[in-house]
Amino acid sequence: MSKKYEKIGETVFSKVDKINAELFTLTYGALVTQLIKDYEDIEQVNIKLEQMGYNIGVRLIEEFLAKSGIGRCNDFVETAEVISKIGFKMFLGVTAQISEWDQDKKEFHLIIEDNPLIDFVELPEHLKHKLYYSNILCGVIRGALEMVQMKVKCTFVKCALSDESSSEIKVVLEEVLSDLAPVGYD
């Protein structure tokens, strides 16, 4: 199944406009450091990043749907594959791995081995295990899925910048908002 999505991901990626990755990484870095200056409290920075991501996600989903041509997913397993193989590919140019499904298939971990946001970044000791540098991604996933009637909770469980092996986001499906689904999609 995931091969099929990888292929779609490649195709969509080849079609979308690209920008310089370094500019992107540096801009994001400037944004995070400015937030740290403004808020001082690191927990607040994590929350703000997540909120910014959410605002991006609710818009980005439309572009994703329009340009990938993906239809409605049958189950959350398919959703996970689509996010990791098409969504990440389309917007970040990398794919993510899925692991650690729970029994009900409502919770999985997204492992991002090659996160473009953290190129060049070295967290100072006092921020390690406190700042989730790429927390914006959690917000993007939450915002995007909310627009297709899935309420999820995303949290960083591992961060490569805090001396852990890779970046890992836990995604938990809390509920499917079926009463908000557009007609014809029950």
């Binding site: 749907l65 627009m147 007609v183």
Partner: protein, 163 residues
Amino acid sequence: MIITSCRNINVDDRDENLAFAVNVKVMAIYSLYILNKAGTLIFQNDYVGSVEKLSHNAYISLGSMFHGLHAIASNLSPTGSSSGIETIETEAFKLQCFQTHTGMKFYTISDPNHPNLDEILHNIYELYTDYVLKNPFYELEMSIRCDLFDDKLNRLLKGTTAD
């Protein structure tokens, strides 16, 4: 690429208005409506000069009414869920609707013989994602007032190429 295929329409038995429209190389899409997921009209524009203008409120109520009809149509289905209204055809025009997975609706009023509305609606959706949603000052769910979006739509629907 879309535009060329639309110039092939058969103009023999069109009424005067349309013959006029084709003469001036206007594509036979009369109007475009965009509804947000709550069914509120967030965009409406006419692309052929001969279309009679209505009041602003009339467009809003037409949009909401279509939203309601769409929901009713979907509930009428005898065999479980249906997609709601996709096309309405009459002698004088055809309405074609495209609903996104997020619940927005894009619909065009066009010539009944227009050949590839599906593709055009999809292109309009892509323009919306590029030129409306990426404008940081556009507030979601609100009326669309984006000049770039208007320009691109004019190019797509009127077939004018400015460059």
